[in-house]
Amino acid sequence: VSDGAVTYLDHAATSPLRPEVAHAMATALAEPLGNPTGSHRPAQRARRLLEESRDEVADLVGCRPGEVVFTSGGTESANLAVFGTLAATPAGRPTSVVSSAVEHPAVREACRAARSASVSWCEAPVDAAGVIDLGALAELVDGATALVAVMLANNETGVVQPLGAVAETVRARSATARVFTDAVQATAFLSLAELAAGADLVALNGHKVGGPVGIGALVVRAGVELAAQQHGGGQERERRSGTQDVVGAVGLAAALRTAAVERCAAGRRVGALRDRLAVGLEHSVGAVHRTVPAGVVTLPGHLHLCFDGIEREELLVALSERGICASGGSSCASGALETSYVLAAMGVADSRSRGAIRFTLGHGTTGADIDRALEIVPGVVASLRHDP
């Protein structure tokens, strides 16, 4: 069925390692690396690479080097932000955590798990476009609020949240509430230095930017209290113990650097390809809806579509058989697709979200990929469509 070609349109799940990153990591690995806490030369070399990476990450996300805490990835960063902030607030006093209704499970489940006798959690609704309702958010924030978590861009839909306005809203209601943004999905295309400037805590990772899996960072702005959640040797200025992944940090820095250099051009290029795919599918496949209404700001690589009369599980299998890699959104631990709470929060009807598919383009996506998708997807959809 497939000619062996693979059209990878699942960058939001993980973005292939950029060649520049592989080169930087290979270079780091070429000479002996010690434990960065040691005193001999290989240790000092490791320490140098680590701190060079930290400087670079800080520069690229718009913070000071001392504000960068390296972690194992986005999920750890999110958990550290949520639990670390709560652990640093005075115990026993009623405390609340507020998050948007469309947060990634790394944030959402951390908030859920953080609930206790004194910690409550509530979700701020989003509108039909998936954008947070600032009025409703304001209502939920008060003096007891310790943390407000609003992602910079949504992993399923690509919808970009007005983080500056979120931060202003929170500050107007509380002098002590911390603003945390999960910027994992946004990092490849958006300038965190600019758009995440209002956040006290920023989570990012490597593999969504064309860097390696297994490395991430949490930006903890100076003056923000954070209690370590992982105890040991006191690395990362006692905010995250454990021997640092030096080569991972080198990869993360290289990925962020490459993404930053390409940012403007890549955004335009990928956005144009995405629009061509969207318009092409709308023309060649009837009864397909863009989940995010026109005019809403999304990441340039995201195209979220709902195909009427299609079961997304079937569409994904049929596309996979023909070498087209897309995603159905959220999966559970077994790998089975689940009903998307993100789409539900946007008020997308179940009948429509059954046929919801996410195509995400990224740094390696070419015009030929889009040609191939436009050649294959319409026929596959037609073969699978059944009458409602």
């Binding site: 599980e313 058989e321 077994s334």
Partner: protein, 344 residues
């Protein structure tokens, strides 16, 4: 591919025969269960076997359909004193309906499973018992007809279980030594049927009476009592064990009797529940009935009545609980299923 050894080897045999095979695991149940066919560990096993065989693997989430078509009817049936077989309902409405339809739509020629049964291709398709009599699963497939049988494959149906395991071991599949699943997949072995139903159903205490209507005891949950049940029913004055001969849920009454009294000579299968593998039996035809997955086959005559079938046993049998499937096998070839129905 359930993550068990039979479906693992079924997939392996098809790959070895040169077919273009894709593995699929159904996620049917989201609730807590340690024994079933869709825990994360089982999905992981199925996926790993698919990797070892070099085939693609997908997980299909049919939990909504399973809840609607298998679990909810299972609970409702207990509320009205019926004892359904959820595996049969899953085969009927999920595996050989929903999944078969999906497999067709995706362009596959056949849907293969790891069931121990055989399809004989001479003339009209026949559904036969698996070659390993101890593992035969034709009973839980007895509702299949020509339309389904023409689109399915049971690759391990010709094999004995020991050979299935040996084949898996030769291939180094991690499922080779995995214990057989025994229970209903959505019911954990710790909570049991009672624990599972207790969240979803109000249990009612009932009086236990003998054939003369005299009270002889009580039960805590009439909904959990099955016709023919012996456990918990005590003994008669003669010291013989008591068996349940009637369950009246609305009246909250269980009637018990001696082993000699707890027998039936016939069972009614309403027309709406009756299915035929090929052609219906003629009125009065001889057949062999099986009333549970590994029940002893019972010779019978099948009489057509106005509203279904009357299965008349040659030798009186333990009572058949309402909701239980009765599979009918060919009198001339007791390995061949001819049809099935659900006891009224």
């Amino acid at each position: 591919m359930s993550g068990g050894v039979d479906s693992s080897v079924a997939a392996a045999l098809l790959v070895e025969a040169g077919h273009d095979v894709v593995g699929a695991t159904l996620k049917l149940w989201g609730g807590p269960s340690d024994s079933g066919c869709c825990s994360v560990a089982d999905v992981d096993d199925a996926r790993r076997v698919a990797q070892q065989l070099g085939i693609d693997h997908h997980v299909f989430n049919l939990t909504e359909e399973f809840e609607r078509q298998v679990v909810t009817p299972y609970v409702q049936a207990h509320a009205s004193g019926r004892t359904p077989n959820p595996c049969i309902e899953c085969n009927r409405s999920i595996k050989f309906d929903r999944l078969l339809e999906r497999s067709d739509r995706l362009g596959f020629d056949r849907l293969a499973t790891g069931h121990h049964a055989r399809v004989s291709p001479d003339g009209p398709l026949r559904l036969l018992r698996g070659a390993d009599g101890a593992k035969d699963q034709s009973y839980v497939l007895s509702m299949l007809g020509q339309a389904e049988l023409g689109r399915v494959l049971f690759p391990v149906g010709e094999m004995h279980k020991a050979d299935v395991r040996a084949h898996a071991a030769r291939l180094g599949l991690r499922t080779a030594g995995k214990p057989d699943s025994q229970d209903v997949c959505f019911i954990g072995s710790v909570e049991g049927r009672q624990g599972f139903l207790s969240d979803k159903l109000a249990f009612h205490a009932a009086d236990v009476v003998n054939g003369r209507g005299e009270p002889v005891g009580t039960v805590d949950a009439v909904e959990l009592v099955t016709l023919g049940q012996r456990r918990g029913m005590g003994h008669g004055t003669d010291g013989g064990r008591h068996y349940v001969v009637a369950v009246d849920v609305p009246a909250r009454r269980v009637t018990v009797g001696s082993a000699a009294e707890a027998v039936i000579s016939a069972v009614v299968l309403p027309a709406a529940t009756v299915t035929w593998v090929d052609r219906p039996l003629v009125d009065g035809a001889r057949a062999v009935a099986q009333v549970s997955a590994h029940g002893r086959p019972a010779p019978c005559a099948v009489v057509r009545t106005g509203d279904g079938l009357l299965v008349q046993f040659d030798v009186p049998q333990r009572p058949v609980a309402p909701g239980q499937t009765v599979a009918l096998y060919d009198d001339a070839d007791p390995d061949a299923v001819v049809g099935a129905g659900i006891a009224a």
